[in-house]
């Protein structure tokens, strides 16, 4: 999942709106000057961004492509720099010194259990939540104290938050109208967005006359027509049914790829995170745990929480004793390297280590091959494969294990099977710090 670097733009995009007219470093392109002269009047300088997009649509409209060409207009980077949010009346920060750099055009997913601060982080970027310490930058522009409307962002809400008294068309056109975009340009942009989202037949309807999936698409359309610097999405799929969710998931990912607009996406669903994000940021209790590509996150989780959170069914994670070769699982010894052993004993490791292996990273073996004996409690037949749940006595306590296995070797309930993690596929963490070693 390594993304190609996007073309570096030569000059920063003129930030939209007249509010910034004074302090924006603008490098005028010849065509912009041409348009300005054509439009006439210095007063129009203020509305430049709108005019420019208009001109662009003229350029591209005839060929029928509306999609912004990557690099033609730069999107934006987003940086959280030690951004902290402490809700009034609480001691513990909801978001604790978040440091996060999001690349231009990147799809970053914030994921974590409920209450981990992911939505708060997004709302801080949107300007809906105060930043108590640190700062937030969009394209090196300090937006920490700017109101939402001055940030050039668009947001898709969990419950869509459509304007109930407006038609679908008006919902999508609202932001453009507020920016005094010319009528015919609004029309072009809304119609194109509607076409992309298959909403053309519903433009005259009010939100209450739409299904959940259609409302979700209108919310997306409202964000798309804006052509903002950053898209923010706060669990936009959680109100859809399972099938539609999977379908819309790939649509959103495809749309983002087409538009190339920097996107921050919040979800509690790790499958959404893994399938959609270029990179995934895992949060817990307001603290960023790890930011990495989905593959990296899966293969090299930085700590015990990430290891347990990513992957379904979850990784088998057990705290066991060390010996000179590795981690002792009753009859089984998982080998650790010399460095890992040293790291495990450091920092209060107390001769213990936390070891994890994924359900699919182990085999069912025969009794003679020295596997860990497990009594099967439950077998989930998923069609393509099966999850086997069972328990085994490890160091005197009864521990639960999950193994993913081929359907052909599906054991029965109550049976005892022997599992053996594949060599080199297990993860080791310091028992005290819970960090990867």
């Amino acid at each position: 999942m390594v993304r190609e670097p996007l073309p570096v733009r030569p000059s920063p995009r003129p930030v939209s709106g007249k509010r910034d007219a004074k302090h924006v470093r603008r490098v005028w392109e010849p065509y912009q000057i041409l348009i300005l002269t054509w439009q006439g009047g210095v007063r129009r300088l203020c509305w430049l961004p709108g005019r420019v997009t208009y001109a662009r649509n003229l350029l591209l409209g005839s060929s029928g492509t509306f999609l912004p060409v990557k690099g033609f207009f730069s999107m934006a980077t987003v940086s959280y720099r030690k951004a902290t949010r402490i809700y009034p009346g609480t001691q513990k920060p909801a978001v604790d010194a978040l440091d996060l750099e999001i690349q231009d055009g990147e799809f970053l997913v914030l994921v974590g259990p409920s209450g981990c601060g992911k939505s708060t982080s997004l709302r801080m970027l949107a300007g809906l939540e105060d930043v108590d310490q640190g700062g937030i930058y969009i394209d090196d522009r300090d937006v920490t104290n700017l109101p939402p409307k001055a940030r050039d962002i668009a947001m898709v809400f969990q419950n869509y938050a459509l304007y109930p008294h407006m038609t679908v068309y008006e919902n999508m056109a609202f932001a453009l109208k507020l920016r005094k975009t010319p009528k015919h340009e609004i029309d072009v942009r809304v119609k194109k967005a509607a076409q992309m989202l298959q909403l053309e037949d519903y433009l005259g309807r009010k939100p209450k006359a739409l299904s959940g999936g259609q409302r979700q698409r209108v919310a997306m359309g409202r964000a798309i027509v804006r052509e903002p610097q950053v898209f923010l999405m706060d669990e936009p799929l959680s109100n859809l049914d399972a099938k539609l969710r999977v379908q819309t998931r790939s649509q959103i990912a495809g749309l983002q790829k087409e538009l190339g607009i920097t996107t921050v996406y919040v979800t509690h669903d790790q499958i959404e995170a893994m399938t959609m994000g270029h990179r995934v940021a895992v949060m817990l209790d307001g603290v960023l745990q790890q930011v990495a590509s989905p593959r990296e996150l899966y293969d090299r989780p930085q700590n015990v929480f990430v290891a347990g959170f990513i992957g379904s069914p979850a990784m088998n994670i057990k705290k066991v004793q060390l010996n000179q070769d590795g981690a002792v699982f009753a009859s089984l010894v998982l080998p650790l390297t010399r460095e890992q052993l040293a790291a495990a004993r450091a920092e209060g490791g107390d001769n213990q280590v936390i070891v994890g292996f994924r359900p699919e990273d182990c085999d069912l073996v025969s009794a003679s091959e020295g596997g860990l004996p497990i009594e099967v409690e439950l077998v989930e037949d998923l069609g393509a494969e099966a999850n086997v749940y069972g328990h085994a006595a490890v160091n005197g306590s009864n521990e639960r294990f999950v193994v993913r296995t081929d359907r052909r070797h599906m054991p029965d309930m109550g049976e005892t099977v022997y599992i053996k993690p594949r060599v080199g596929q297990h993860h080791a963490f310091n028992a005290a710090t819970e960090q990867r070693i």
Partner: protein
């Protein structure tokens, strides 16, 4: 209508389907009894309300003799001249227009100021929010008679006695407490996410209010608007105090009172009933036309 008593019957939680039809049958007959009772009560209530109105209408077509000799019969003929006489000779037409002018302006002012105040009080946090709100609400408990004398002098000192503006301002002040109280709770129920979406879309506070929140509060606005129109249309005490010596500016209620008070030996009863009908008719029409608006759930589809 008939299902509500069933849901509200205490000690009878929704019976699971499989626990026999007997109980369900009992619940259904229960509801039928309650439905019957409630329908009867409603029917009686409707008669109490509607009968006098019909009687006034019928009487407005009778002559004085018929009104006294056969009050319960239909009028002998449709005497539209009663209405014409009331409209022109008793100046009810003029008073009617005065009422329309005063009530429309004051209702507009009440709705505008009331909803703005309620919106800010309901959705913005600032120091003094609660005290201001409680001051508005305490206005509800303030009897108008207590304020009448000071009010008269305040209006007089402002030079607004016997003017439309004076009456309109007093109407607005008089209607604000309930309007703010009502709209406050209404704005509280509107989804926060929609306001946030509008802010992200680029709306400032004013645009957010006028283009998003106010339209969403339309059902509340319509109900409180009707309430205010009805209340101000029927207001008698305030115009009597504030417009006493400018007869050309009198409102409808004063005009009607004038007909019955200036009766002398031969009262114009049929004219009085005609004038009453003229006063009642627009209110009934308005209620009938706007009824659906009041019920319409406008926020449906906003979230989820």
């Amino acid at each position: 209508m008939t299902t509500t008593p069933q849901q509200k019957t205490p000690g009878k939680p929704a019976t699971p389907v499989r626990t026999a039809s007997g109980r369900q049958g009992a619940a259904r007959s229960d509801s039928r009894i309650f439905g019957g009772v409630s329908n009867t009560v409603l029917a009686i209530w409707a008669i109490i309300v509607i009968a006098p109105i019909i009687w006034v209408f019928l009487s407005s077509f009778k002559n004085t003799e018929e009104i006294f000799n056969s009050p319960w019969t239909l009028p002998g003929s449709l005497r539209f001249d009663n209405w014409a006489r009331a409209w022109s000779k008793a100046h009810v037409g003029r008073y009617f227009l005065n009422s329309v002018l005063v009530v429309s302006l004051s209702t507009f002012g009440t709705m505008l100021l009331g909803s703005m105040a309620a919106y800010v009080l309901a959705r913005y946090k600032f120091i003094g929010n609660r005290p201001i709100y409680y001051m508005f609400v305490s206005g509800l408990a303030f009897p108008v008679f207590l304020a009448l004398v000071p009010l008269f002098f305040v209006v007089k000192n402002l030079g607004l006695l016997n003017t439309y503006q004076g009456l309109i301002l007093v109407y607005i002040a008089y209607s604000l407490p309930f309007t703010v109280f009502f709209m406050h709770s209404f704005f509280k129920t509107l989804p926060n996410a929609v306001a946030e979406a509008a802010m992200i879309d680029g709306a400032g506070h004013a645009k957010l209010f006028f283009r998003v929140m106010l339209p969403m509060a339309k059902p509340g606005l319509v109900s409180i608007g009707i309430f205010n129109i009805l209340g101000q249309w029927a207001q008698y005490l305030l115009p009597v105090v504030l417009l006493s010596s400018a007869k050309d500016k009198w409102v409808l209620t004063q005009g009607i009172a004038d007909i019955s008070v200036n009766a002398g030996y031969e009262a114009d009863w049929s004219g009085l009933f005609a004038a009453l009908s003229i006063a009642i008719l627009p209110m009934i029409l308005m209620y009938a036309l706007l009824q659906r608006q009041i019920q319409a759930g406008l926020t449906a589809g906003a979230v989820k």
